[in-house]
């Protein structure tokens, strides 16, 4: 009887994971396909390019999840029912993953080699032909470079958002996140554990069965016109015979599959290092010049939007804006204080992540065997969403440790741990790409000069890894915010609610009690914060990394 139970639980968990993965696949594929057209339009039209860039560059570094309550209320209230909830979930995940993909696709299309574009035009390929033979393939390496992170991000957010509490009503969709949450809140530990194990197994299967082969395949799309016969063994030309050609092709495939070297070869690193290098090195073509009509049109649209905003503020001042302003007047300082607290947490987590990433990466880069074992594990861990096992790790912090350390310290520790776990993998990963792509010759020089470990770290490994780490920082900070969001306010065991002092905790609390005005006020503050940050921090940091990276010159794999 018990055995049957376990199997039926496992089957339910399996189906639920499939549903969750289905959502992830749908949003990612939809994002990729839409990105081709948006990226193309942005690369070709000056007006669209400006709009596209300012939107994506700002939203890329946004902790989307923090705006979730507002989105949610919109979908659940205006559409309603299971479909409304489903759409809310999908929309959230969509907005969490697309920016990276879109920026990558735009940059790939924008920097498509001029000679290939000329060739496509001379060959009269037509619009769809050019898409098929040029613009879509050219984006593949960038998509591949993003796919692991997108997958992990999407899983993280989807697992959280499958269960939504608004006021006293709970909305949920069928999925592994919702199931695990239901099981833990019921105290059904066996079931929760089986669910989590199923998720881990299936994440691993997707990673090694789908994503790795995809990335491996996409690598052939990277354009390096003058690269001489590298990496390929000399192949004898085959006399034109179909059978022999076919045999040769299959042999080649087989050899590729069998090669153990390839099995541990960090393909994601190859792809994402391509993405990082592409981002940092390819001299971006200047923005398209606006034609006169476009300039007038742009100005017209801008004025129209401003007028509409002004009108809507004026029109709804009494009903919407007045209460928000009053709320801000009353609680604004508290909100800012909480925002400061959360940024402090983010800073601490980021620094800790970087500090832990340095020795791990140094070990991996200098010791092949460590790398071969650790890297696949890290990739796997990165894709298992903290949000899924949060209910399980929260238990000791709310029971045993809470008694020893006191509830405040214990919860604070939990928040830190969860935020760290949702950040560290990405920091490690970004830094690894940077360290791994330091030219072999520099390592040789370091050996030759008999530099000690500390000197090698200080003079070579850390500075070499920094540009890639910094470039990744904008998105890792997004992940840290995600971690804070799920851990600052947990509604766990026995329906008890645990929260710390923090911005996202308060937003969650407002959502739970249905304080719409407060929620809107906080979203406003967050929005302003995000825009300021994007303008004054991320873009500058990114430009700095780009310049330094160029200065340091040839960094190749």
């Amino acid at each position: 009887m018990v055995a049957v139970d376990i199997w039926s639980i496992a089957l339910t968990a399996f189906l639920a994971t499939l549903a969750t993965f289905g959502r992830v696949a749908l949003t990612i594929v939809l994002g990729i396909v839409l990105g081709w057209f948006l990226g193309y339009a942005a690369a070709k039209s000056g007006l669209f390019e400006r709009v596209f860039l300012s939107i994506t560059q700002t939203l890329e570094a946004v902790p989307v999840i923090t705006f979730f309550p507002i989105v949610l209320i919109f979908f659940v209230k205006s559409i309603g029912g299971y479909i409304g909830t489903e759409l809310a979930v999908d929309f959230l995940v969509f907005t969490a993953v697309v920016w990276n993909i879109w920026v990558g696709e735009y940059e790939a299309i924008k920097t498509a080699p001029q000679s290939l574009e000329d060739a496509a035009e001379m060959l009269n390929l037509g619009f769809w032909g050019r898409f098929r033979y040029l613009y879509i393939p050219v984006t593949m390496p960038r998509v591949a470079g993003n796919v692991l992170v997108s997958f992990a991000d999407a899983l993280f957010y989807i697992v959280v958002s499958e269960v939504i509490t608004l006021g006293t009503t709970q909305y949920s969709v069928f999925g592994i996140g919702a199931l695990i949450a239901a099981w833990t809140s019921r105290g059904d530990w066996t079931a929760a554990f089986i669910g989590l194990s199923t998720l881990v197994v299936m994440v691993t299967a997707i990673l090694f069965g789908v994503l790795r082969p995809f990335v491996n395949w996409a690598v052939k799309y990277s354009y390096d016109p003058l690269m001489e016969v590298a990496r390929t063994r000399v192949r004898r030309p085959i006399i034109t015979s179909r059978v022999r050609t076919l045999a040769a092709r299959n042999m080649r495939y087989l050899r590729r599959v069998i090669a153990i070297e390839d099995a541990i070869m960090p393909v994601f690193v190859r792809a994402s290092s391509y993405a990082v290098r592409h981002r940092l090195l390819v001299r971006p073509r200047p923005r398209n010049i606006l034609t006169k009509t476009e300039r007038y049109m742009g100005m017209g649209i801008l004025i129209l939007i401003l007028v509409l905003i002004a009108y809507s503020i004026y029109n709804s001042w009494q009903t919407t804006w007045d209460p928000i302003m009053i709320d801000l007047y009353k609680h604004g300082l508290l909100y800012l204080y909480y925002l400061g607290l959360d940024w402090l947490r983010v800073a601490l987590v980021t620094i800790t992540s970087i500090l832990t990433a340095i020795p791990i990466n140094y070990l991996m880069v200098t010791h092949r065997r460590v790398e071969a074992i650790l890297l696949p594990i890290l990739e796997d861990l990165a894709s298992i969403p903290v949000s899924a096992y949060l209910p399980l790790i929260a238990i000791p912090f709310t029971t045993y440790l809470a008694i020893i350390l006191g509830i405040h310290a214990s919860l604070e520790l939990l928040v830190f741990l969860v935020a760290y776990l949702s950040t560290a993998w990405y920091v490690i990963y970004n830094m690894y790409v940077g360290m791994k792509t330091i030219p072999r010759s520099l390592w040789d020089v370091a050996e030759n000069l008999k530099l000690g470990t500390w000197q090698k770290l200080r003079r070579l490994a850390i500075p070499g890894a920094m540009p890639a780490t910094i470039t990744g920082l904008a998105s890792t900070v997004g992940s840290t915010w995600g971690g804070l969001e799920v851990a600052e306010y947990i509604q766990g065991l026995n329906g008890q609610v645990y929260m710390v002092h923090g911005f996202t905790a308060l937003m969650d609390y407002y959502t739970a009690i249905g304080n719409m005005v407060g929620l809107e006020a906080m979203s406003l503050i967050l929005g302003i914060n995000v825009i300021l940050l994007s303008i004054f921090l991320w873009r500058r940091l990114f430009r700095l990394a780009r310049e330094r990276y160029r200065l340091e010159g040839a960094i190749t794999l």
């Binding site: 001379m122 799309y221 003058l226």
Partner: protein, 217 residues
């Protein structure tokens, strides 16, 4: 020929119909060239092969606009041109698996497959090593001008003097800003030409001094 930065490539792209001239027009057999046409085929400095397509697929691309041909026919024609440039047996290789010289051969096959009247070449040997370039130069004349070929003329951009004397019938030297024609030189040497001939060397000297003038203007 022209010093770097004179606008050789730009001129070639205007001839190809890839760029609109500010003034003037390009005439091909009495008709104005208003955009890319199969009558003009281009060979690029960096070969411009689509890395995600095999050699055969790259050549086939030149026939895509011919809706009257079936897939099999297109494939056969592409195969024929690959053999013409000496790459029979390499149909299923990706560009990254080919050497520089072979890549340029694929590019030549692709250009020829479009059955152009005029072939445009933008420093086609600049990215090849000296020995490969020499071999390909010796062969290209026969590849392009044989009885099966539709090509009537080649316009080649280069700043390699030896290459120019070896291949050209007429050399036009550009210089200045905006670019002007500095000189026109007809090369009247029998083919195949030998780089060690005294006459060949004379032409080299003449072009060299003309190029020096164009650098000063």
């Amino acid at each position: 020929m022209a010093p770097t930065g004179t606008g050789k490539t730009t001129l070639l792209r205007i001839i190809a119909g890839l760029r609109k001239p500010d003034t003037g027009k390009v005439l091909l057999m009495g008709e104005e060239v208003r955009g890319p046409t199969p009558k003009l085929a281009m060979i690029f400095q960096d070969f411009a092969l689509f890395p995600w397509l095999t050699a055969l697929e790259n050549v086939e691309l030149a026939l895509m606009h011919r809706k009257d041909l079936s897939k099999e026919v297109r494939r056969e024609i592409a195969r024929k041109y690959l053999e013409l440039v000496g790459l029979g047996g390499f149909e299923d290789y990706y560009p990254r698996e080919l050497s520089g010289g072979m890549k340029q051969r694929v590019a030549i096959a692709r250009a020829l497959a479009a059955q152009p009247v005029v072939l445009l070449m933008d420093e086609p040997f600049a990215n090849l090593d000296a020995i490969t370039a020499e071999g390909l130069r010796a062969e290209i004349y026969n590849m392009v001008f044989n009885e099966e070929s539709t090509v009537k003329a080649i316009i080649m951009v280069s700043h390699n003097l030896e290459e120019v004397v070896e291949l050209s019938d007429k050399v036009i030297i550009l210089g200045g800003r905006p670019a002007n024609i500095i000189a026109e030189v007809e090369i009247k040497l029998p083919r195949p030409r030998n780089t060690r001939d005294i006459e060949f060397q004379d032409y080299l000297d003449r072009l060299y001094s003309l190029l020096s003038i164009s650098l000063k203007t």
